[in-house]
C-alpha cells in the first residue's frame, strides 16, 4: 500500500518553515508590481509541518530499493557503491556555495579542480581534450553528434548517415535522429560483435560516423576496433564511442588508442557519482586533437599559475548547458578519481571483470549466455528456457524483487531473446554474488514447479504488479483535490495533436 500523498496530509494553517523577519521597510507587492503581473490565487501546495515532511519522506524512502540497500545488477548502468566521501566533498561550502559568475580570481580552487579533472579524464581515456558541460550520457552523445555534424560541415560536405549496431543503447539512435542524422543499423555478426563485412557494405560516402559501444552491450570487447576505425577514417568518417561501459577498460585499454575520435563518459556510472533516482549525472565528452576546436565553450585554461575561462571559439558548436555543466557532480567524480588513483582504477576494472565472469559461470547452466566465452564487466544471459513454462524475462525480474535483489536490465539488448543484462560491478562481494546466483537458480526451479508464483510476483513488496496499461490509457500524472469545487478536476484531454500538412521540419 502506498503511503498517503503529501497533499493528503495537508492541514490548513500548518507551516513547515518559518522565514526570518524582513528588516527592511514593508512593501505591498501591488505597490511596486502592476496587478496584472501578480498571482491571484496561491499555488495548491501542501500545508504541513516540518515533522510531517520528515516522516513522510523518510517513510517514502523506505519503499525504495537503492544501491545502499540492495544489489543492483543492471547491465550498462554500473551501479557501484557511491562513496560517502564524495558527498562530503561536494557539500563543502567552498564548492556548493559558489556563484558561476563570480570573477575567476574568486574561484581559482574550482577552476583548478575542473582543469585537473579534464586532465585526469584525458589520461584515463587517451583522448586529447574534454568538455565537462554535458549533463548526462545522452547529453554527451548529443554533443558528440553536433561535433560530428560541425566537422563535416566545415569540410563543406553533407554527410547525413550514422551507422549504429543493433545492440546499441536506445539513446544512440535517439541522439542521432535529434541531431538531424539518418540512422542505418548494422546487423551484429554471429559472434555478437560488429560484422566488418556488414560495415563495409553499409559504409558509403554519406556516412558521417559510426557510433559504437566498447565493450558492447553484450559485454564483449570489439577486438576489430582498430581495423573498424581505419575503415571509417579512410572515408574521413568519424568513430564515436559510447563510453557507458568504461568500467571494463580502466587501466586495461584506452579508447584514444583504438582510433576513437570522440566518446562520452558517464560519471554517474564508471565514476561512482550517485544515480539519485534518475540523475543528476554528467556526460563529459572527450575528443582527439583534430576535434578540439569544436568543443563547447567556455573551457578552462591554465595561464601560468592562474586558471581562466576561455570563451573564445574557433569552431565551437556553442553551448549545451547553462553555465559550466553539473559542477556538483564533477566535484564528486574528481574526489573519486583522486581516491582511487592509478592502482585503484586498474583494480576496479579488473575486479569488475572477474566478478562478472564468476557470476556468469554460476548462472550459465540455467541461463545460457549466447555470446562470448568470457565476458568483460557484464554479460547478457537468456531466460528463453523458461518460456517452456510460460515464464519470460520480465517475470524473472519481478520474482527477483521478492528475493531482495533489484532486477537486471531485461529485454535489452534486442539481439538476445528474453535478455537479462547483468553487471555486478567491482564493489559487490563474492557473498552477494553467490546469493544472487542462488536466487536466480531458485527461480529457474520455481519455473518448473510453481510458475504461477513467478507470474504473480512480486508479492513481498508494498505493491504487486502495477497496471501499466491503465496508466498509459488513462494518464493520471498529478494529484487533484476532489472536494474543492473551485478546482474541479478534469481528465486531461487526450486528443493527439496531429501535425498539419506540409513537410516535416524536424524529426
Amino acid at each position: 500500500m502506498s503511503d498517503q500523498l503529501i497533499f493528503e496530509r495537508s492541514v490548513t494553517g500548518r507551516r513547515g518553515y518559518h522565514l526570518p523577519p524582513s528588516e527592511v521597510p514593508a512593501r505591498a507587492p501591488a505597490d511596486v508590481i502592476p496587478r496584472e503581473q501578480l498571482r491571484t490565487a496561491p499555488p495548491l501546495l501542501p500545508e504541513v509541518a516540518e515533522f510531517d515532511v520528515v516522516r513522510h519522506y523518510t517513510r517514502l524512502s523506505q519503499l525504495n530499493f537503492s544501491v545502499d540497500t540492495h544489489f543492483y545488477p543492471l547491465g550498462s548502468c554500473t551501479m557501484k557503491y557511491n562513496p560517502k566521501l564524495n558527498e562530503r566533498v561536494a557539500a563543502l561550502p567552498g564548492f556548493a556555495w559558489l556563484h558561476p559568475l563570480q570573477p575567476a580570481g574568486q574561484v581559482q580552487g574550482m577552476l583548478e579542480l575542473l582543469y585537473e579533472l579534464e586532465q585526469l579524464l584525458c589520461a584515463i581515456t587517451g583522448m586529447s581534450a574534454f568538455t565537462l558541460q554535458p549533463a548526462a550520457g545522452a547529453a554527451g552523445e548529443l554533443t558528440g553528434l553536433k561535433i560530428i555534424a560541425a566537422y563535416h560541415r566545415r569540410k563543406r560536405r553533407t554527410r547525413s548517415t550514422i551507422l549504429i549496431p543493433d545492440s546499441a543503447h536506445g539513446t544512440n539512435p535517439a541522439s542521432a535522429a535529434l541531431s538531424g542524422f539518418t540512422v542505418v543499423q548494422l546487423v551484429s555478426g554471429r559472434d555478437g560483435l560488429i560484422d566488418v563485412q556488414e560495415l563495409r557494405s553499409k559504409l558509403t560516402n554519406d556516412v558521417a560516423a559510426l557510433m559504437l559501444t566498447n565493450p558492447n552491450t553484450l559485454g564483449l570487447f570489439e577486438r576489430d576496433i582498430k581495423a573498424i576505425a581505419a575503415l571509417l577514417h579512410e572515408r574521413d568518417a568519424l568513430v564515436y564511442m559510447d563510453g557507458a561501459n568504461m568500467n571494463a577498460l580502466l587501466g586495461i585499454a584506452r579508447p584514444g588508442d583504438m582510433g576513437v575520435d570522440l566518446l562520452q563518459l558517464n560519471l554517474h556510472k564508471t565514476f561512482s557519482t550517485p544515480h539519485g533516482g534518475g540523475g543528476p549525472g554528467a556526460g563529459p565528452v572527450g575528443v582527439t586533437k583534430t576535434l578540439e576546436p569544436f568543443l563547447p565553450v567556455p573551457r578552462v585554461r591554465k595561464r601560468g599559475a592562474r586558471y581562466v575561462w576561455d570563451e573564445r571559439a574557433r569552431a565551437t558548436i556553442g553551448r549545451v548547458h547553462g553555465f559550466y555543466g553539473n559542477c556538483g557532480v564533477l566535484v564528486r567524480a574528481y574526489a573519486y578519481i583522486r581516491t582511487l588513483g592509478r592502482e585503484g582504477l586498474a583494480r576496479t576494472s579488473r575486479i569488475a571483470i572477474i566478478n562478472a565472469n564468476y557470476l556468469k559461470r554460476k548462472l550459465e547452466g540455467a541461463f545460457p549466455v549466447p555470446f562470448g566465452d568470457h565476458c568483460m564487466h557484464e554479460f547478457v544471459a537468456t531466460a528463453k528456457a523458461l518460456n517452456a513454462h510460460n515464464i519470460n524475462a520480465w517475470d524473472v525480474a519481478k520474482r527477483l524483487l521478492d528475493y531482495g535483489f533489484y532486477a537486471p536490465t531485461v529485454f535489452f539488448p534486442l539481439i538476445v531473446d528474453e535478455a537479462l543484462m547483468i553487471e555486478p560491478t567491482e564493489t559487490e562481494s563474492k557473498e552477494t554474488l553467490d546469493q544472487f546466483a542462488h536466487a536466480l537458480l531458485a527461480i529457474a526451479q520455481e519455473a518448473q514447479t510453481n510458475p504461477e508464483l513467478i507470474r504473480r510476483s512480486p508479492q513481498r513488496l508494498t505493491v504487486d504488479r502495477l497496471d501499466e496499461v491503465r496508466a498509459a490509457r488513462e494518464p493520471n500524472l498529478r494529484w487533484k483535490p476532489t472536494e474543492d469545487i473551485s478546482r474541479q478536476p478534469s481528465t486531461p484531454a487526450r486528443q493527439p495533436h496531429t501535425p498539419g500538412p506540409g513537410r516535416a521540419v524536424h524529426r
Partner: protein, 497 residues
C-alpha cells in the same frame, strides 16, 4: 584505495570457479597492442599539457597514485579554500543562478541513501518511493506554474528552453522561432546548439526600455511561426508583457513558451494564467545550492494537448493487481529506450535527486511560505535599489519613457524615489533583480573590484553579454541578503566614488 571488497584470496577462488588460469585469460579478446602495461610512472597532477595522449611509448594510465580518505579531504578542502564562497562574501549576483535559503530538512532527508542511490525507477514495484515523489513533484510544479502537465525534470533551464522549442516546431510543423533578446544568453546559445542540423529559422526580437518590443514582435509574426520564447522576469530583471504577447501569437497559431523563475511564482502571475503553451524554468533555486551553476533542475510543463509530445519521464498513478494505489513510469513509448530514433527526446538520466529536493522544499514552504519568500525578495530588492539610486552616479537603467541620454545632473533623476519612499512609477517593475546604469566615466569593473576588497560581489557586468550596454550591471537581492549588508554596500560605494 578502492571500494572493491573481494580479497586477493577470494579473487583467486573465483578465477578457479570460472576455470581461468589468470585474469589475463578473461581479457584475451583485447588485442595485445591496445593493452596498457601493468606498471606506470607516477605523475603529479599539476604538470601542464593534455594528459597521457598519443605520444609514442607513453601509453600508461598516467594518473597520480590513490589517496587515503584524510588526504582526499585535505586536498579538497585546500581547493575549496581557494574559492570565495557565499558564506564568506555577500553576493549580489543573479543572472540565471539564484542562491536561496535551503531548509535543513531538505539536506537531512535527501541525503538518505534510499533517495540518493537508487536507479531510475524502471522496476516500479521496487521504486514506489521515488515514483510517488516524482508524482508529488509533478503535481507541485503544475501548481506553481499553473500548467496542466509536468514531467519528472530535464537537465536545466537552458536545455528545457531548447526542448520546448523542438516540441513547438514538431507540434506545429513550422520552422520559424522568435526569441526575445531578453532571454538568458545561455538558453539562447543552448537552443542554437540543439538546432544545429534542424531546418529552423531563429529570429531575435529586440527590447525597448528593457522589455521585449511588442510592436517588433507583432511585425515578426506570421503563420510560419512555431513559437515565441519569452523569459519572465527577463534577463534584465524586468517584467515582460506576457499576456499581450501570448494573445497576438495565438492569433497566428503559434505557441507561447515562457521561461520563468520559480521563486518569483509565489507572487508573480504564473505562466498558465497568461496562456503559455509550454512553461519551463531553472528549478535549482527550489532547495538546491547554486554549486557554481550545476547540476540544475529543468522544469518542463505543457498544456494537456501537448502531453503526447512531452520529452522526459512521466510518473503516473495507477493500481496494482489488488487495487492498491501505486505509481509507475508511463507513456514511455515516447522515450528513447523504446522509440529509439523516433523518441520525443534522447533524455535518459535527468535531475531526479534535485526534483526530490524541490518537492521537499515546496512541502516545507507551502503556499504561505512561498508567498512570504517572494515578498521578502521583493522588499529587499526594492530597498536595495532605492538606496543604490541615492548615489548620484547611479540610476535605474530602464524606464518606459524616453531616456535622457545626457549626463545632466540638473535633469530630473530617473529612478530616484519620490519623497516618502515610494518607487518612481517611471521605472520598469521588477521582482528581485534590477539593472543599474552608472554615469559615464565610472566603470562597472572598477566598482566591482573595490567591492570585492570589501568582501562584496557586485552586480554582474551586463556588457559581458550585451556589449552595447557598457555602463550597466545586473543586481539580485534575495532573502539571504540582510539589510545591514545592503547598507554596508551603499556605504562602501559612497566611499569608492
Amino acid at each position: 584505495m578502492d571500494y572493491a571488497p573481494n580479497t586477493d584470496e577470494q579473487l583467486q577462488e573465483m578465477l578457479r570457479a570460472i576455470g581461468a588460469s589468470s585474469f589475463e585469460e578473461l581479457i584475451s579478446t583485447v588485442p595485445a597492442e591496445l593493452r596498457l602495461p601493468a606498471e606506470a610512472p607516477a605523475r603529479r597532477p599539476s604538470q601542464g599539457g593534455a594528459g597521457g595522449s598519443a605520444q609514442a611509448g607513453q601509453r600508461t594510465l598516467d594518473v597520480p597514485h590513490g589517496l587515503a580518505e584524510a588526504q582526499v579531504v585535505e586536498l579538497c578542502e585546500r581547493l575549496a579554500g581557494r574559492n570565495r564562497s557565499l558564506n564568506h562574501v555577500t553576493s549580489f549576483l543573479g543572472a540565471g543562478a539564484y542562491q536561496h535559503l535551503i531548509p535543513t530538512a531538505v539536506d537531512a532527508l535527501a541525503s538518505r541513501g534510499e533517495w540518493l542511490t537508487p536507479y531510475t525507477p524502471y522496476q516500479a514495484e521496487a521504486s514506489q518511493g521515488t515514483l510517488q515523489a516524482i508524482y508529488e513533484f509533478q503535481t507541485m510544479v503544475c501548481e506553481l506554474l499553473q500548467m496542466e502537465v509536468a514531467n519528472a525534470s530535464l537537465y536545466d533551464g537552458a536545455s528545457s528552453v531548447a526542448e520546448a522549442v523542438l516540441l513547438a516546431m514538431r507540434a506545429t510543423q513550422r520552422p520559424r522561432v522568435l526569441v526575445s533578446e531578453a532571454l538568458h544568453p545561455h538558453a539562447s546559445q543552448t537552443l542554437a546548439t540543439y538546432l544545429i542540423g534542424a531546418d529552423a529559422i531563429v529570429q531575435e526580437i529586440p527590447t525597448v526600455h528593457g522589455v521585449t518590443d511588442l510592436e517588433a514582435l507583432s511585425k515578426a509574426l506570421g503563420d510560419d511561426v512555431a513559437c515565441v520564447v519569452l523569459q519572465q522576469p527577463n534577463v534584465f530583471g524586468c517584467l515582460e508583457p506576457m499576456s499581450q504577447a501570448g494573445e497576438r501569437l495565438h492569433r497566428v497559431g503559434g505557441l507561447l513558451i515562457a521561461s520563468v523563475y520559480p521563486i518569483s511564482l509565489g507572487l508573480l502571475k504564473p505562466p498558465g494564467a497568461y496562456g503559455a503553451d509550454i512553461a519551463v524554468a531553472e528549478g535549482r533555486c527550489l532547495g538546491s545550492p547554486v554549486a557554481y551553476g550545476g547540476p540544475g533542475l529543468g522544469l518542463f510543463t505543457t498544456t494537456s494537448e501537448l502531453l503526447r509530445r512531452i520529452p522526459g519521464r512521466l510518473a503516473g498513478c495507477t493500481v496494482d493487481q489488488r487495487g492498491r494505489r501505486g505509481f509507475t513510469l508511463t507513456l514511455q513509448t515516447r522515450e528513447q529506450h523504446i522509440r529509439r530514433e523516433r523518441a520525443t527526446s534522447n533524455i535518459c538520466t535527468n535531475e531526479g535527486w534535485l526534483a526530490l529536493r524541490a518537492t521537499i522544499f515546496l512541502s516545507l514552504l507551502g503556499p504561505v511560505g512561498m508567498q512570504e519568500l517572494a515578498r521578502l525578495n521583493v522588499e529587499k530588492a526594492h530597498y536595495a535599489r532605492e538606496r543604490l539610486v541615492e548615489l548620484p552616479w547611479v540610476r535605474a537603467a530602464f524606464s518606459p519613457s524616453p531616456r535622457d541620454q545626457s549626463n545632466d545632473h540638473d535633469a530630473p533623476a530617473r529612478g530616484r524615489p519620490e519623497r516618502g519612499g515610494a518607487e518612481s512609477r517611471d521605472d520598469q517593475p521588477f521582482f528581485n533583480e534590477f539593472t543599474l546604469e552608472y554615469d559615464s566615466g565610472i566603470s562597472v569593473d572598477t566598482v566591482n573590484r573595490a567591492l570585492a576588497k570589501a568582501g562584496i560581489v557586485g552586480g554582474f557586468p551586463l556588457a559581458d553579454w550585451f556589449p552595447s550596454m557598457p555602463q550597466t550591471s545586473l543586481w539580485c537581492v534575495t532573502e539571504l541578503v540582510s539589510r545591514e549588508a545592503v547598507d554596508r554596500l551603499v556605504d562602501v560605494l559612497r566611499k569608492v566614488i
